[in-house]
């Protein structure tokens, strides 16, 4: 197990190296540079050249890359061109928002999806089954940003049940420790701040949850159906085990493997959805910030953010692989 983790982490190094080279080439091929974003169309060639020199963009690309790697080893990701703040600071301020949003969506998707998929499989062919299968088919076909707008229009703007935008009510004076607003509220015992942050997460979380939820329902249903047909389930029922034992120890546990894989894969997709949801709800996470950084050619921010996201993605998938052996002891990670 330990060797498995170490090997997977070591594999991360060449992958990151390759990714950094690809990213660097891609970024520097983008038409227009940060100088166009700063000056607009009006800047004289001299002003452009001055900015490029100031940012070190006039040097050969190999030298620039070497400098970037040098800083990387010191865990220094440089300074944002647009906001003039350190990339690490920007990241630590915005990433918690996206994590909170993605986690909310995933929790909703898992808590609703797995029981629903299980029940649909147990009542195959009945109304509940048909409704959840139809729902999951429609769920993946609704554009996330449209759903976000519909939820916002109905529950925020018409019924005023939830806030329409942002991460926290500006009138609440909350202490910031980790920038995870809910966590901060709980740690400082500012219960109203925690509750308010949670309240802000409901609508974007629901919108973002729609696609993972639909997929989890479908995978759980298919997987449970397959396990229900296995001989060992019939044996367990025949030898008189209670339904609860059969359900928990035999059916659910065996059906969870494909579901765990899917959840791991969906985590990467959540980031795509987060870009859209964050835009609709003016939720300050990394999604909207990355989109802005692309249009402003903010090279350091893009390099840094995408590299960290790739690491996070690999780590999430490592956790998913490790969870297999927890779910199914027959699986030994090597």
């Amino acid at each position: 197990m330990f060797r498995f983790i170490v090997r997977r982490l070591l594999q991360l190094i060449p992958a990151l190296f390759g990714l950094s080279i690809l990213l660097f080439i891609w970024l520097h091929r983008l038409p227009g540079g940060p100088e166009t974003a700063i000056l607009g169309e009006r800047g004289t060639p001299e002003m452009r050249a001055a900015i490029r020199e100031n940012l070190g963009l006039d040097e050969p690309i190999l030298v620039q890359y070497g400098r970037f790697m040098q800083r990387m080893f010191r865990l220094d990701l440089g300074t944002s061109i647009a906001t003039k703040r350190e990339v690490t600071t920007e990241f630590l301020q915005r990433f918690p928002g996206t994590v909170e949003l993605a986690a909310t969506a995933m929790i909703i998707a898992i808590l609703v999806g797995i029981p629903l998929g299980y029940l649909a499989a147990r009542r195959r062919g009945r109304l509940l089954d048909h409704v959840s299968v139809a729902g999951s088919l429609i769920g993946v076909c609704i554009p996330v940003f449209f759903l976000a707008y519909v939820l916002k229009a109905i529950f925020a703007e018409n019924l005023h049940l939830f806030p329409a935008s942002g991460r926290q009510d500006p009138t609440i004076e909350a202490t910031r420790i980790t920038n995870f607003f809910v966590l901060d509220g709980l740690m400082t015992r500012e219960w109203d701040a925690a509750a308010d942050a949670l309240w802000h997460l409901v609508l974007p979380g629901l919108a973002l949850a729609s696609i993972p939820l639909a997929i989890i329902v479908r995978i759980t249903r298919a997987s449970v159906l397959e396990v229900l047909g296995e001989d060992f389930v019939r044996t367990a029922e025949a030898k008189g085990l209670t339904e609860r034992v059969v359900r928990q120890r035999h059916v659910l546990r065996n059906a969870m493997l494909p579901v765990a894989t899917t959840i791991g894969l969906l985590t990467g997709g959540l980031l795509s959805g987060a870009v859209l949801t964050e835009t609709v709800f003016a939720f300050s996470g990394i999604g909207a910030f990355i989109a802005d950084s692309i249009s402003q050619r903010d090279y350091p921010v893009l390099m840094g953010f995408i590299m960290i996201i790739a690491v996070v993605f690999v780590l999430v998938n490592l956790l998913v692989d490790l969870s297999y052996s927890l779910i199914d002891p027959r699986v030994r990670v090597r």
């Binding site: 992958a15 390759g18 990714l19 690809l22 891609w26 091929r29 983008l30 038409p31 088919l137 429609i138 993946v140 076909c141 609704i142 554009p143 996330v144 940003f145 449209f146 707008y149 229009a153 990467g268 997709g269 980031l271 795509s272 959805g273 870009v275 859209l276 835009t279 990355i290 989109a291 692309i294 249009s295 995408i306 996201i309 790739a310 993605f313 690999v314």
Partner: protein
């Protein structure tokens, strides 16, 4: 005395005879062996989801192909503004009427005509981007799969190299990838198609590779190898055609996601800047500022996108079920 048979009796007898005949020919079919595709098609015809999906897609195709010839107004004609009916600055955008079934859009153009003409553009974006993803993905996956399954040590090396690249593409969030490609190439319709297509490359590559490796271990490959058939011929003539089923299913499902992702790009302002030719994604994105005045402008294209995507998804899922070897009798 044997009375004459009533018509119903005769009809029943005839039906019984036909049934027996059907059974006999079905039995003969089984002896002869039915190909995977024939059997899949037979099961597809009995699946209500497949029928609904096909009907929806048939309608969509019909509208996309012939619709633009029959629209009541040109999709670019700002008739509403010319006639002074639409003043979007003051929040006046009239809804449905006898002459304009779905009302006007914010520039005074006939919404119904735009929806109908938009079907063609949406179909174009979906099909072309899926084909781009399919072509590149199948090439990468096919080479990797053939190399891994039949290529020996060198083959495994090629496979590993190709798959590392694919995994790296998978590690980036799809929309981020699409957004960066769109930024790289500048906003245009071609850009949208390339960006959405490239995003689906790793999926197709992984699927075809996995499917080909699984096929490479089967008996018919062993038989062909022992007969001395060249490895390239086995890969292209034997393994590849038998590995295509999951890829075709995925292509159908990708058509749905391609349309939705193209809409998402338009929403982020990276879609086709030329709004003269309507496309549902662009229409949906254009309607956002007028949600408070006339939400229907967003709802029409959104519902059109959802129904079309649903059609592709239904058909794709039904195909997946029909082709699943586990479910074959």
């Amino acid at each position: 005395m044997v009375g004459p048979m009533t018509i119903t009796e005769r009809a029943r007898k005839k039906a019984e005879k036909l049934d027996r005949l059907g059974e006999l020919s079905a039995a003969r079919d089984e002896e002869r062996g039915v190909s995977l595709w024939q059997e899949a098609f037979r099961r597809l015809r009995r699946n209500p989801a497949a029928i609904v999906g096909t009907v929806v897609l048939g309608l969509f195709l019909l509208v996309a192909i012939v619709g633009p010839f029959f629209v009541p107004y040109a999709p670019t004609d700002t008739i509403g503004i010319r006639e002074g009916l639409v003043k979007s600055g003051q929040g006046i955008i009239p809804g449905p009427s006898g002459d304009h079934w779905f009302g006007f859009d914010h520039q005074g153009r006939d919404e119904f005509s735009r929806l109908v003409v938009g079907a063609r553009q949406t179909l174009l974006v979906g099909v072309v981007s899926t084909l781009i993803g399919l072509a590149i993905g199948a090439l990468v996956g096919g080479v990797a799969g053939a190399a891994a399954g039949l290529g020996g040590r060198w083959g495994r090396w090629i496979d590993t190299a190709l798959m590392r690249v694919v995994d790296m593409m998978l590690a980036l969030p799809s929309l981020l990838l699409a957004v960066s490609i769109a930024a790289l190439l500048g906003a245009s319709l071609t850009t949208v198609m390339i960006a959405v297509g490239v995003v689906s490359v790793p999926v197709f590559a992984r699927l075809l590779r996995g499917s080909m490796i699984a096929q490479a271990n089967s008996d018919y490959v062993l038989a062909a190898t022992s007969l001395g058939v060249r490895r390239s011929k086995i890969a292209i003539g034997h393994v590849l055609p038998n590995s295509l089923a999951p890829v075709i299913v995925q292509a159908t499902l990708t058509l749905a996601t391609a349309i939705i992702e193209a809409a998402a790009l338009s929403f982020l302002g990276l879609g086709n800047p030329d709004t003269a030719i309507p496309e549902w994604g662009v229409m949906l994105a254009d309607a956002q500022p007028y949600l408070g005045i006339r939400p229907a402008l967003a709802i029409y294209p959104a519902v059109a996108i959802i129904i079309t995507a649903l059609g592709f998804t239904l058909l794709g899922e039904a195909m997946r079920e029909a082709l699943d070897p586990k479910l074959r009798k």
